[in-house]
C-alpha cells in the first residue's frame, strides 16, 4: 500500500468513527427518547411539556441541527489534519 493510500484509509477510518458516534446520538434522541422510552420520559415534566412528547415534537429536531453542524466542524478539522482541505 502506498503512502497516499495509507493516508486515505486512515482518513476514512476516522470519518466512519465520527459517523458512528453522531448517528448513535441521532438514534438515541429520536427513536430512543421520542419513541421507545417516550412513556417513561413522560413521567418527567418540563414546564408544560411531558419530556417524551417534547423530544418527539421539539427536542429531537434541535439535536439534529446541532449534529450536522458538529459534523461540519469535525470534518473540516479532519480535512485540515490530512491536508484534504481546499
Amino acid at each position: 500500500m502506498s503512502e497516499k493510500q495509507k493516508k486515505a484509509s486512515a482518513y476514512w477510518k476516522e470519518n466512519v468513527r465520527y459517523l458512528f458516534i453522531l448517528l448513535a446520538i441521532w438514534f438515541a434522541v429520536s427513536y430512543g427518547a421520542g419513541i421507545l422510552f417516550k412513556d417513561t420520559l413522560n413521567e418527567i415534566k418540563m414546564g408544560g411539556f411531558e419530556l417524551g412528547f417534547w423530544f418527539a415534537q421539539q427536542g429531537s429536531i434541535y439535536v439534529f441541527v446541532i449534529l450536522i453542524f458538529a459534523y461540519v466542524r469535525l470534518m473540516n478539522s479532519l480535512d485540515k489534519k490530512y491536508g484534504y482541505d481546499e
Binding site: 427513536y31 411539556f49 418527539a56 421539539q58 429536531i61 484534504y84
Partner: protein
C-alpha cells in the same frame, strides 16, 4: 382593505418577484440548467433546499394533521427533519465529490451498467410524478379559497408560472426563485404563529408558548388544557396518541430514509462548489427547515384548542364569518343530527356533527384567532410559495431524467449540448402539462401516494447509494436486484393494504389492518422493504463477480473531499 384585496396585492407582488428573478437568471448551458453552474453559495443553496423541501404538504397540511393526530403526528416532524442528518453524513458530500448531474448518473456509473441507470430513472420518475401532482392541487386549493377563482383556473395559473421559470431558468432560475420563496413562506408561517402564541400564552416564541400556561387567568398549562378537552370529547389524549410503538418507529424510519433518498433533494447538493460547502449547506438547510418544523407543532396545539373552544357546544347560528366561508368550500361541514341547533364535536362518529378537513387548520387559523386581514393574505402567498417551489424542483428532476439520463446517456449519446438543453426544456414542458392534468383531475389516490413516495424512495435509492459509497465491493448484480426487489415489494404492499387491489376493492378494505405484516402500516413498510434491499444486495454480491478495478478506484476517490471539480455531464 379587505382580505381579498390584500391577497391580490401580496400574491401579485410575490409572483412578479419570482418572474423577475427567472428572467435575470436564465440558463445558458446544460451545466446552468442542471446544476446552476455549480457556483451556488452554501447559504443560498440551504435556503433553496429548504424551500424545495417544504411543500404544500409541510406548509398547509402538516400542522393540521398533527393537530388531529397529536403525538402520532411526531412521525412527520422527526421523519422529515432526521432524514437530513442521514443526507448530510452519508450522502451529500460524497455525491458532490462524484460530481455528476443526477442521481441515476451516480447509480449508472457506480454500478457500471445501463440497466442500473434505467432502473434508477424509472424509480426517480415514479417518485417525482406522484409528488408533483399533489403540489399542483395545493396551488388550486389556495387560489380557490382566497382569490375565489375556480380550482381549475388556479391550477392553470400555477402551471403557467412554474413553466415560465423552470423552462427558462432551469436549476439556476429555480435556485434563486426558491431563495425568495423561502423568505416569503417562512415569514408567512411565523407571523400568525407569533401573534397567536402571544394571544394565548403571552409568550412571543411559539416553541415556548406551546409549553406555557394559558393567560386567561386560569394558570393551567396549555397542553394540560388540551389533553383535558380531548378526553372530555372522547378523543385520545393529545400528548399520547393511538398508533402502536412499532408502527410509529417504522413510519419515522421510512420517512427519514425516504427524505435522504429523494432525488429532488439530493440534486440540490450538486450545485455547490466544494465538498465542504455541501456539508455546510445541508446543515443550513436543516436549520432553516427546523424553524418551520418546530413551530408547526405549536400551531397545531393553538389551532386545535382554539377550534374546540370556538365550536364545541355553541349555537350554529352564532358561528363567526370564517365558519361560513369554509363551509362554502366544502372543507367544513355541519350536520345537526340531534336537531338542537348546537354543534356537537365529539370522537363518536354516530354523535359527531362537525367534519373538518385537516388542510384548513393552517389556512383558517389566522381567521379563527381574529388576526388582521393582511396576515390572512400573507398565509395565502406563503402557501403558494411552498407549493410552487417544490413543484419546480420536482419538474427539474423529471426533465433531467428524460433529457440527460435517457436521451443523452442511453438513446442519443451524440446529441449536442444545445440539443440536450432544448430536450430538457421540452421534457419540463411536457411534465408541467401532465402534472397540471393530475392537478385538475386528481386520481383519488394522489394524497395517499404522496406519503408512500417516501417508502418507495427508501426501498429503492437509499440502499443502492449508501452501499455504493460505503461498500467498495458492492457490485451491479447486488444493487440492481436490491432496487428491483425493494421497490416491487413496497409497491405490492401498498397495492395490497392501501388500495385493497388483491381483495377486490379500490380502496383499503376495512379490517385489512389486522393482516398487516408485524403490525406495520403501508406508510411504515418502506423501512422493511429497505432492509430487504440491503440484505439481498449483500447476499447476491457474495455470489457474483466483484466490480472492476476502475470502479473501486472511483469509490476510493469520492471518499476524499479534495479536488471536487465542476459537475459535468461526461
Amino acid at each position: 382593505m379587505d382580505v381579498q384585496t390584500w391577497t391580490y396585492l401580496l400574491v401579485g407582488i410575490t409572483f412578479s418577484i419570482y418572474i423577475g428573478i427567472a428572467i435575470w437568471s436564465r440558463a445558458g448551458s446544460t451545466n446552468d440548467f442542471y446544476v446552476a453552474g455549480g457556483g451556488v453559495s452554501p447559504l443560498a443553496n440551504g435556503m433553496a433546499t429548504a424551500a424545495d423541501w417544504m411543500s404544500a404538504a409541510s406548509f398547509i397540511s402538516m400542522a393540521g394533521i398533527i393537530s388531529f393526530a397529536g403525538y402520532d403526528g411526531s412521525v412527520y416532524l422527526m421523519g422529515w427533519t432526521g432524514g437530513y442528518v442521514l443526507l448530510a453524513l452519508l450522502l451529500a458530500p460524497y455525491l458532490r465529490k462524484f460530481g455528476k448531474f443526477t442521481v441515476p448518473d451516480f447509480i449508472g456509473d457506480r454500478y457500471y451498467s445501463k440497466t442500473a441507470r434505467i432502473v434508477a430513472v424509472i424509480c426517480a420518475l415514479i417518485v417525482s410524478f406522484t409528488y408533483v401532482a399533489g403540489q399542483m392541487r395545493g396551488v388550486g386549493v389556495v387560489f380557490s379559497r382566497f382569490l375565489e377563482v375556480d380550482i381549475n383556473t388556479g391550477v392553470i395559473i400555477g402551471m403557467v408560472i412554474v413553466l415560465f421559470y423552470a423552462v427558462l431558468g432551469g436549476m439556476k432560475g429555480i435556485t434563486y426563485t426558491q431563495v425568495a420563496q423561502y423568505c416569503v413562506l417562512i415569514f408567512a408561517f411565523m407571523v400568525p404563529a407569533i401573534f397567536i402564541s402571544i394571544q394565548m400564552t403571552g409568550n412571543p416564541i411559539p416553541q415556548l408558548g406551546m409549553g406555557s400556561r394559558l393567560n386567561d387567568g386560569s394558570g393551567i398549562y396549555l397542553l394540560d388544557k388540551l389533553n383535558g378537552l380531548s378526553t372530555e370529547l372522547g378523543f385520545a389524549e393529545y400528548t399520547d396518541g393511538k398508533k402502536s410503538t412499532i408502527d410509529v418507529f417504522m413510519i419515522t424510519l421510512a420517512l427519514m430514509v425516504g427524505t435522504a433518498g429523494l432525488p429532488h433533494v439530493i440534486v440540490r447538493f450538486f450545485t455547490v462548489k466544494r465538498v465542504r460547502d455541501a456539508r455546510k449547506s445541508a446543515g443550513l438547510a436543516l436549520l432553516l427547515i427546523a424553524i418551520l418544523y418546530t413551530t408547526a407543532p405549536a400551531v397545531s396545539v393553538f389551532a386545535r384548542t382554539n377550534m374546540i373552544n370556538t365550536v364545541s357546544n355553541k349555537e350554529y347560528t352564532a358561528m363567526p364569518e370564517w365558519f361560513k366561508n369554509w363551509e362554502t368550500t366544502g372543507l367544513l361541514a355541519f350536520d345537526d343530527k340531534n336537531g338542537d341547533g348546537k354543534i356537537q364535536y365529539v370522537a363518536d362518529p354516530s354523535k359527531n356533527e362537525l367534519t373538518v378537513d385537516r388542510d384548513i387548520m393552517v389556512l383558517a387559523n389566522p381567521e379563527i384567532a381574529n388576526l388582521p386581514a393582511w396576515v390572512i393574505a400573507l398565509v395565502a402567498a406563503g402557501g403558494l410559495a411552498a407549493a410552487l417551489s417544490t413543484a419546480a424542483g420536482l419538474l427539474l428532476v423529471i426533465s433531467a431524467s428524460v433529457s440527460h439520463d435517457l436521451i443523452k446517456k442511453v438513446f442519443v449519446p451524440s446529441i449536442s449540448e444545445k440539443g440536450e438543453l432544448w430536450a430538457a426544456r421540452g421534457a419540463a414542458t411536457v411534465a408541467v402539462v401532465i402534472a397540471g392534468y393530475f392537478g385538475i383531475n386528481p386520481p383519488g389516490f394522489v394524497a395517499a401516494v404522496v406519503a408512500l413516495a417516501f417508502g418507495l424512495a427508501a426501498a429503492s435509492f437509499f440502499p443502492a447509494i449508501v452501499l455504493g459509497i460505503f461498500y467498495k465491493k458492492m457490485n451491479k448484480e447486488g444493487a440492481i436486484a436490491g432496487m428491483v426487489v425493494g421497490i416491487s415489494l413496497m409497491l405490492f404492499y401498498m397495492l395490497k393494504f392501501k388500495f385493497g387491489i388483491f381483495d377486490g376493492g379500490k380502496e383499503a378494505v376495512p379490517g385489512l389492518e389486522k393482516d398487516w405484516w408485524f403490525g406495520i402500516s403501508p406508510e411504515g413498510f418502506g423501512s422493511v422493504a429497505m432492509l430487504v434491499n440491503f440484505i439481498l444486495s449483500i447476499a447476491i454480491m457474495k455470489f457474483t463477480p466483484p466490480p472492476p478495478e476502475n470502479v473501486q478506484e472511483i469509490v476510493e476517490d469520492i471518499r476524499i473531499p479534495s479536488g471536487a471539480g465542476e459537475a459535468t455531464g461526461h
